[in-house]
């Protein structure tokens, strides 16, 4: 099974993909920072940033459907954070600003993740003197996330092929079992990975 929902298009060939990874990482971070700090009502900035990002996305040849899909997938998170501002007396402008800021930041990160291979980003972090342990943990996270999803899916399928009557209460119990088993298995795998690292000289 192959999972590449995080950065499916990070290895395309386009002018944006060919830009130095450091430049992309720093400008993405700066843009997110600016978006977050921008005072409410700076309409010109939001319009400019949106247009800029759309141009970048178009140049990167990432399918627009993919970008839109990812955006919709993450939008509930933004909505969840912003929704409470509606209940304030003058809440609507704040709500709209928060939604715009969140959406722009996510769009920036989607474009970054899909134009820059993760290994390159890690390399940069390492050379930028980000603590080695943190970079290692990030690398391991990226590597084993896919395996974890695979394993969960396999267990779920195996479970399903022995489920004959689908009752909702039972289904929730099954999911709970799979999740807890997954946790146990990942701790055991973590032990084996650690052994493999030590076997090649990690201290």
């Amino acid at each position: 099974m192959r999972h590449d929902f995080l950065d499916r298009y990070s290895r395309l060939q386009s002018p944006i993909h060919r830009l130095p990874a450091g430049l992309k990482l720093i400008s993405a971070l700066l843009l997110v920072l600016a978006t977050v700090m921008m005072p409410q009502g700076s309409l010109w900035f939001y319009i400019l940033a949106t247009l800029g990002l759309l141009v970048l996305a178009a140049m990167s040849t990432i399918p627009p459907r993919f970008v839109l899909g990812r955006l919709l997938m993450l939008e509930p998170v933004v909505l969840g954070f912003s929704i409470f501002s509606i209940f304030r007396s003058d809440g609507w402008p704040i709500f709209l600003t928060l939604m715009t800021k969140g959406t722009l930041s996510i769009l920036t990160m989607i474009i970054l993740a899909n134009t820059t291979p993760f290994a390159k980003i890690l390399e940069l972090l390492r050379s930028a003197r980000v603590p080695g342990l943190l970079v290692t943990v990030l690398a391991l996270l990226y590597r084993y996330l896919f395996l974890l999803i695979d394993e969960g899916e396999r267990m779920h399928r195996a479970r399903q092929s022995r489920t004959f009557v689908a009752k909702n209460s039972q289904r929730y119990r099954t999911i709970a079992t799979v999740v807890s088993q997954l946790f146990v298995r990942s701790t055991e795998r973590a032990d084996r990975i650690y052994a493999a690292m030590r076997a090649r000289g990690w201290q």
């Binding site: 999972h3 290994a119 391991l140 590597r143 896919f146 084996r192 493999a196 030590r198 000289g201």
Partner: protein
């Protein structure tokens, strides 16, 4: 010839109380290729993990294992892990880096070699396993056979004098098995191979150790040992087909 690995009355119990090894003793000489066979749960993997000091968690005193005349003790571990290359059973446990290059380079980098030497070692290790040009690929996009060969490259890049392999051919298709077998045959290092693949044993290992229930049941030349049908059946194994009739692939 001198013993490169010597194991003397090795006992080991897992924290849950399961006795995995109950007094294992053997020597391996330089250049030998030894198979360790036995049923599931007989202690093969546990034994292999002792050969470079991954187990026990704190080395026993006095150490039961000696590698290259060094007792497996805390102080000797860096030197021992450098000389003993361990190939794990599940490639996904061993391939923990985001790219193939990083993974093969991991060992040499841990030794603190200069980046130029590391690069050379990675290139030559990948060439030896027929994966030249795979540097930038992600391990989770490789096939099972490719993953296995990347693992082997990661071990070879450390230039170990002893190779310890846990089920190197499991999950491989017949061609993958044949290729890996001939790859291993071409490596000059001393080899210890735990496996259920008895054809690999017949092709590669002149000597076999049969392990069952944490004890060595038999230790001797491969052909007579594997041909002893009553012995093999008693320990959950069987006489391999390759010894019953001739094989088209030679």
């Amino acid at each position: 010839m001198s013993a490169i690995i010597s194991v003397n009355d090795l006992h080991f119990s897992y924290p849950d109380g399961k006795q995995a090894l109950k007094g294992v003793t053997f020597n391996v000489n330089e250049g030998e290729c030894v198979a360790v066979i036995g049923p599931n749960g007989s202690g093969k993997s546990t034994l292999l993990l002792h050969l470079n000091g991954i187990l026990p968690d704190t080395p026993s005193i006095p150490p039961s294992c000696t590698v290259l005349d060094l007792p497996v003790s805390q102080g000797n571990l860096p030197q021992i892990r450098r000389s003993v290359g361990l190939l794990f059973q599940d490639p996904d446990d061993q391939l923990f880096c985001p790219t193939v290059y990083d993974d093969v380079a991991f060992g040499p980098q841990q030794f603190g070699l200069p980046e130029e030497t590391v690069r050379k070692r990675v290139t030559s290790a990948l060439e030896r396993v027929d994966l030249a040009g795979f540097d930038e690929r992600s391990p989770h996009h490789l096939s099972g056979g490719e993953k296995r060969r990347v693992c082997l490259a990661g071990v070879l890049a450390c230039e170990p004098s002893v190779l310890v392999l846990d089920e190197p051919t499991s999950d491989l298709d017949p061609r993958g098995k044949r290729e890996l077998t001939s790859l291993l045959a071409g490596l000059p290092a001393t080899k210890i191979i735990a496996t259920h693949d008895l054809e690999l044993v017949v092709r590669l290992c002149p000597r076999t150790i049969l392990l069952d229930n944490g004890r060595i049941v038999a230790d001797g030349p491969t052909l007579p040992l594997l041909s002893d049908e009553p012995l093999m059946l008693r320990h959950g194994l069987e006489k391999p087909h390759i010894l019953l009739h001739s094989h088209p692939h030679g």
